[in-house]
Every structure is written in structure tokens, then in C-alpha cells.
């Protein structure tokens, strides 16, 4: 079980941004877009076989040529303002059929990621994910933030469209961040890193959708760009958002008028105290959502 580094560049106190797949892949898409724009270079990877069951075998003329696993890769980029380490995991290691990692494998992987951060002198670690919220898809997703220290909370509050988790209606007493995007945050704190998690809002009724939610990825990326003091071209995300909006609008039209009415109220009250859908509505959406999304025509893979 280990780390393979392809090279060992000299980096000046880099920040690390790390992410694994989760709801609507909000964090992964944000970081993937960032990496593409920055032209980040490959740095290394975590050996996969201790963490994952293989996903593809390649046999040629009766000889097993290779076995492919989900990758967990590191990248880096030297920026004018700040050097950067990036990490994207294609899958969360689980002990069985769960989607989100937990237990010893999750702990081991999170520590390996932080080992690399430490090795390159990193002091701050960002993770990213989704915040399932009582919001509406017509509203710009906010970014919920959780950090490891009070002074970081103050810093985070200085950015537009960012809200601390404690300021969200119904989360005064706290909440939780499931899987490795949360666990890394906790372990980073334990190991003395500054840790910040940025979670893009996704409406509760879309949280099981088998397609990405690029509007939330964009919101996350905007905050990251502010932190890093860099310019980002959002055109690709905007184009993706237009396509997804069409699918969502089509599905939304199929909701009953009562549900739509309640959800539409969220737009006008600007999330100050949004209307919760009733248990009955929630049940209806859960029962019908897969069918509705299928009609929406997405080919995205459900995590399994």
C-alpha cells in the first residue's frame, strides 16, 4: 500500500485541493475544470489494488494483458500567487456495497493523501462536495463552508456567495459531511493542517439525480478562484449547465402542481426560511424520481 510519485518538483508551501466523487460530482467537476484550465501536471498516484476491486480486464489472444483499477491521482501547478497540489480520486474505497468510504480503508487513503501534502510542505487543504439544500434549481447555488479553525471561518465569510454551515436554517447544531470529502477534513485538522471544505448547494429533489449539477460546481470553483487569486474561464461549465437545465426543466414539469407550487415558493423567499417539501411530497419524488430521470435521458452512471 503506497504512493507512487512520478516526479518530485520543488513547491513553495502549496495548498492542496482534494476531492472524491459524491452527489452530482460537484467537487470533482469543479476541481477537474480547475486542473484543465491551469494545465496541471501529473505528480503521482496512490496504488489502487489495496483499495479497489478492478473495473476492467484486458485479455489479448488468450493472455491477460492488464487489469484496470479506479485511479487516485495527484497533480501540481506552480501559480504566481500560490503553488498548488491537486488530488482527484475516481472512486471512494468502501468495505462492501456502500457508495461512501468509511472505516479502515477510508482512513488509510485519507492519510496517504495527507502524507503527500506534508511531503511537499503543504499547510492548507481544501476538500469539496455537495450540500443538499432546501433550495431551487433556478437559484444560484451558494457554497456552504466548514473549516478547522475560527480564523478560517472569518476568512471564508469574506467571500461572496459563501455561507458557514451554522448559518444555514436547521443546521445550527451542526451536521456531517459523509465519506472521504469529510473524513479528509477531519484528519487534516488532526494532523495540523488548515482545512476548508466547500460544498455547492444542490436542491434536495435533485440529490439522487444520475447527472452532474454544474451550477454548483461553478459556485465552488468561483470561491476557489477567489482563494487562489486566479481567473477562470467558466464557459465549459456554463454550457454544461444549459444542457442539464433543460433536462431538469423537463423533469420538473412532471412534478405535480402541488409539489411545484411548494418548491417555487423557495425562489421568492430567497432561502431565508425555505419551504420544506412535505413527507408525502418527498415520498412521491423518491418513488418517481428514477423514472423521471430516465425520461430525462441522462446516460450518466449511478454510483454502485
Amino acid at each position: 500500500m503506497g504512493i507512487i510519485l512520478y516526479k518530485e518538483p520543488k513547491l513553495e508551501k502549496p495548498d492542496m485541493i482534494a476531492c472524491w466523487p459524491g452527489i452530482a460530482n460537484i467537487g470533482v467537476i469543479a476541481i477537474d475544470t480547475l486542473m484543465g484550465q491551469l494545465g496541471a501536471e501529473e505528480l503521482g498516484e496512490i496504488e489502487p489494488w489495496d483499495f479497489f476491486y478492478p473495473r476492467r480486464v484486458i485479455i489479448k489472444a488468450g493472455v491477460l494483458e492488464d487489469l484496470e483499477f479506479s485511479r487516485s491521482k495527484f497533480y501540481y501547478k506552480r501559480l504566481e500567487s500560490k503553488d498548488l497540489l491537486l488530488f482527484i480520486g475516481e472512486e471512494q474505497p468502501t468495505d462492501g456495497g456502500r457508495i461512501y468510504a468509511e472505516g479502515i480503508k477510508a482512513y488509510q487513503m485519507a492519510n496517504l493523501v495527507l502524507d503527500v501534502a506534508e511531503r511537499f510542505g503543504c499547510r492548507r487543504v481544501y476538500t469539496s462536495g455537495a450540500a443538499v439544500a432546501l433550495t431551487h434549481h433556478a437559484l444560484k447555488p451558494r457554497v456552504w463552508a466548514v473549516t478547522s479553525r475560527d480564523d478560517l471561518n472569518k476568512e471564508v465569510k469574506g467571500y461572496d456567495n459563501t455561507i458557514l454551515m451554522s448559518e444555514i436554517e436547521g443546521t445550527v447544531d451542526g451536521g456531517s459531511i459523509t465519506g472521504l470529502n469529510g473524513l479528509l477534513l477531519g484528519l487534516a485538522k488532526k494532523r495540523g493542517f488548515e482545512a476548508i471544505c466547500l460544498m455547492g448547494e444542490i436542491p434536495d429533489y435533485l440529490s439522487r439525480a444520475p447527472f452532474p449539477y454544474p451550477r454548483a460546481s461553478k459556485s465552488v470553483l468561483e470561491i476557489l478562484a477567489s482563494f487562489l487569486r486566479i481567473e477562470i474561464d467558466y464557459r465549459a461549465l456554463d454550457e454544461m449547465a444549459v444542457q442539464i437545465d433543460d433536462i431538469i426543466d423537463g423533469i420538473y414539469e412532471e412534478f405535480s402542481s402541488e409539489i411545484k407550487e411548494r418548491l417555487d415558493q423557495r425562489k421568492s423567499i430567497m432561502q431565508a426560511k425555505p419551504e420544506t417539501i412535505t413527507e408525502e411530497d418527498e415520498k412521491w419524488i423518491k418513488e418517481h424520481i428514477d423514472e423521471l430521470f430516465k425520461k430525462g435521458g441522462s446516460a450518466d452512471e449511478q454510483p454502485s
Binding site: 476491486y53 478492478p54 489479448k60 493472455v63 491477460l64 487489469l67 452512471e301
Partner: protein, 276 residues
């Protein structure tokens, strides 16, 4: 943590081969073949892998009114220098589990060659011959096996949405430590998946018998094949729709999904009644 390997005794072997079969494949082919080898060759269990790290153990499964509990055991057939591993596929920590098999094989038994057994579901009739297919992890072993009746020209990539078999994972892990190995695959007619397929068992065993010069007399298995053929003939006679579906398969035609499902259910039911 203590090693999950529990030895009851340690074999002394200078050179051996390993045969691996799992309980989870089509028609339980792997488990049936390894059981047969142990029975015929006097295989003695010398080591097992403790289940706690690899299985959920949140209860037990029941199959045919019998409690099922994960078992992962090594047997030694001393006269033939053959090591047999028979096990339940682990639920997690796959790589660690597979390496425990290979560690035991390599360090305690000096295994030179790995053979795994797997059944795969086929849209064929039970009357069709069972072709034995091989996938090796080394061109050298592939060449060495060329004079056996073994189809070894497969090109394959796992289709989207599916995962490789545990045997492929094991073969790859063996390759990483330069242990040559071959996965042996036999197509099992889909309606025999819930029951036994002694014909498929015989096909694999014939190969192993020849490869390791085991000197096995297969008359008991031949009798079993004959009995199964009689039961199926009786079933065909009793149920015209079953006969029709099997006849279609014999003519290389594909019955409808509904007919196929019915054939599976009727076959399982008929065999159960015959054996009760």
C-alpha cells in the same frame, strides 16, 4: 493483528501446483471440481484463512435449508504434489485475500503454477460439448499449454457496467509476482446453473488429470452425467415446452426471455423433486 492464515500443519513440498476453485461461480463449478479432486486424491486440509477481515459476518446465509458460512481452505494432495484451494469469494479486502492465497502457495508449498476454475453462463444446450477455454498470465505458459485441448485465443475487455472476475484478479496478482497461471473457463448451459453440470466438471478434470498426471478414474462422474442426461430426457418428455426450448438451443436458436426463464425454473424444480 495476528495473521489470518491458520495452519493446522505445514506441508513440506519442493515443488507443486495450485488449483483454485470458488463457491460462487456458475453451477458451483469451481467448488465441485476442487471437492472432487480432494475426494479422489485424498486431499488433506492444512491451512485456512480466517474470515473476519474479509466477510461481513453480520449473520449467516441459508441455502437449501443449510447454513452457509464462508470457508477458505487449503488442501494438500501429497502424492501428486497438488495444492487445492477451495473458498468463498471475499466481500472486501480482495487484494489482501488473494495475496494470502499466493503467499501460502509460494512460501509454504513452492507452487510453480496456478490454475483457477470458473464456470460461465452460456446460451447453449446441455447436449453441446463443453469447450474448455484458457486465459494465461504468461505467453510462456500459453505456449506450454498449446498441445492440450484448450482454446486459448480469447480477446476480451470487461464491458461497461460489469467487473472482472475474482479469478482474473488472482491471475493478475500472480503475474505481479511472476507466478505463471491460467484461468480455466467452461461454458455452463444457463438452465444448469442452479443445478450441477457434471459434464463441465469432467471437462476441467480431464484437463487437470492430463496436465498433472493424476490417474483419476472418472467412472463415477460418467455415471453422474448419464443420470443427469436421463433426468433431462424425462423432463423433456414430461414438459413439451421444455423440450421445445432445449430443441431450439440445440438448433442454435435462442428461446425468448420468458421461455428461457421458464426453462431455468422448470429445470431447478424438476431436479429438486427428483433428488428429494
Amino acid at each position: 493483528m495476528n495473521s489470518p492464515l491458520k495452519f493446522s500443519w505445514q506441508p513440506e513440498l519442493q515443488r507443486s501446483s495450485l488449483v483454485v476453485g470458488w463457491s460462487g461461480d456458475a453451477s458451483k463449478l469451481g467448488a465441485k471440481v476442487t471437492d472432487y479432486l480432494n475426494r479422489k486424491l485424498g486431499g488433506q486440509s492444512f491451512c485456512e484463512i480466517e474470515p473476519v477481515e474479509f466477510f461481513p459476518l453480520g449473520g449467516v446465509a441459508i441455502e437449501d435449508d443449510l447454513v452457509q458460512f464462508p470457508e477458505s481452505k487449503f488442501f494438500l494432495c501429497p502424492r501428486q504434489n497438488l495444492v487445492v484451494f477451495s473458498g468463498t469469494p471475499p466481500s472486501y479486502q480482495w487484494y489482501k485475500f488473494l495475496n494470502l492465497i499466493l503467499d501460502t502457495a509460494e512460501h509454504y508449498c513452492h507452487v510453480q503454477e496456478l490454475h483457477t476454475i470458473g464456470g460461465m453462463v452460456s446460451l447453449s444446450a446441455h447436449t453441446a460439448p463443453r469447450e474448455l477455454m484458457g486465459v494465461s498470465n504468461s505467453p510462456g505458459l500459453k505456449a506450454a499449454l498449446s498441445h492440450y485441448k484448450l482454446a486459448m485465443g480469447l480477446d476480451y475487455e470487461t464491458p461497461p457496467g460489469q467487473r472482472p472476475t475474482l479469478n482474473s484478479f488472482l491471475l493478475w496478482a500472480a503475474k505481479r509476482r511472476n507466478m505463471p497461471g491460467v484461468n480455466l473457463w467452461v461454458p455452463i448451459p444457463f438452465y444448469l446453473v442452479p443445478v450441477d453440470d457434471p459434464k463441465a466438471q469432467r471437462r476441467v478434470l480431464e484437463f487437470l488429470n492430463q496436465r498433472f498426471d493424476l490417474g483419476i478414474d472418472f467412472s463415477d462422474l460418467d455415471e453422474e452425467i448419464e443420470q443427469q442426461n436421463q433426468i433431462i430426457a424425462e423432463m423433456r418428455h414430461s414438459f413439451p415446452h421444455v423440450d421445445e426450448s432445449i430443441s431450439m438451443l440445440e438448433s442454435n436458436l435462442r428461446p425468448s426471455e420468458e421461455e428461457s426463464q421458464r426453462l431455468v425454473i422448470e429445470t431447478e424444480k424438476f431436479f429438486r423433486e427428483k433428488r428429494d
